[in-house]
Symmetry: C2
Subunit: 163 residues, 2 copies
DNA sequence: TTAAATAAGATCGTATGCGATTTAATCGTC
DNA sequence: GACGATTAAATCGCATACGATCTTATTTAA
């Protein structure tokens, strides 16, 4: 018992509070730095990074409702509505009420928005060159993050199984 | 040549543009979801997540200049100045000009800010319980992200060796 | 069938983030 | 010792983010 120092006393909880120990900060930093790499590539296209994400979703399938976009990206209408209005003002998407359900707003790329896709194709290639990680590391990292995201997005699976 | 379809044609560049293929989006999603886990834990302390990061840095060493905080967190004065003013308004930090160099502003926790550290100690524990990853995965992920961050933050090591 | 409940977006207020500029203080050089 | 260059914060403008509320349209139920 003499060698075993009380954990709380030894660490003072301070070890756990060190910035470089926080997974959240590692995520936060990496995310903003990678986003920063996109900026110069997206600027010629007239897109911000979140706008680029919205266009990625729309290029896959359109039209989509604001809600469906939010579902795909993890954003709500408070964020998306102004963003979509800016994309509309920039001539990249159309917004129109769904005639079948006037509550919904359908978003789809305009011709200009669709055309932008061709130029966007260069971005993933250009970007992956700048990432200081091996292919294996990228695949691994992507897999871990996807699992993390999926698990955190699940609503309430805790009733019977949890962890 | 019949079986070998042109790569660009086969993928249409579209594979590369799929949202679920983007490392950036995996990072972006994971980061916001994890940040969201902090919100309910930080709210009782009266802190937002970026404010919590600032306090983590200050709890390690204080006083610090605005610039030093920005260096540690990857933020600039445009973000930090208003944030620090809010922390000051909340009574958690003091801001005063460095007498030795009036350009600098020194930030340090108040007594209340220092005391908050005790309550914050519970947060990393509470949070790690909510992460659906094994210890190994967390360590691995943290390591990869740290390397990524470090590499992306390095300025220009390309010329020869810099330093 | 119509009033209550619900659903989908929009809006408001507040807090980041960041590029660009501004202001004030210090440094370098002559 | 004066003056231009540099540095440190602050400020401005714009674009996310998000909790809370509001409005309108649809669905449910009595």
């Amino acid at each position: 018992m003499t060698a075993t120092i009380d954990k709380e006393a030894r660490q003072d909880g301070g070890e756990l509070l060190r910035l470089d120990r926080q997974l959240c900060f590692a995520l936060y930093s990496a995310s903003s730095l990678v986003t920063r790499l996109y900026r110069p590539l997206l600027e010629p296209l007239g897109l911000t990074y979140p706008q680029y994400l919205v266009m990625l979703v729309l290029w896959e399938k359109a039209p989509r409702t604001v809600g469906a976009l939010g579902e795909a990206l993890g954003l709500d209408s408070a964020t998306l509505t102004p963003l979509l209005k800016r994309l509309e003002a920039g001539g990249l998407v159309n917004r129109k009420r769904d005639p079948a359900d006037e509550r919904r707003v359908l978003i789809e790329p305009t011709a200009a928005g669709a055309a932008l896709r061709e130029r966007a194709k260069e971005i993933p290639k250009a970007l992956s060159c700048q990432l200081p990680l091996s292919q294996d590391e990228i695949v691994d990292l992507h897999g871990t993050l996807t699992r993390l995201t999926r698990a955190l997005r699940e609503p309430e699976d805790q009733s019977a199984q949890a962890g």
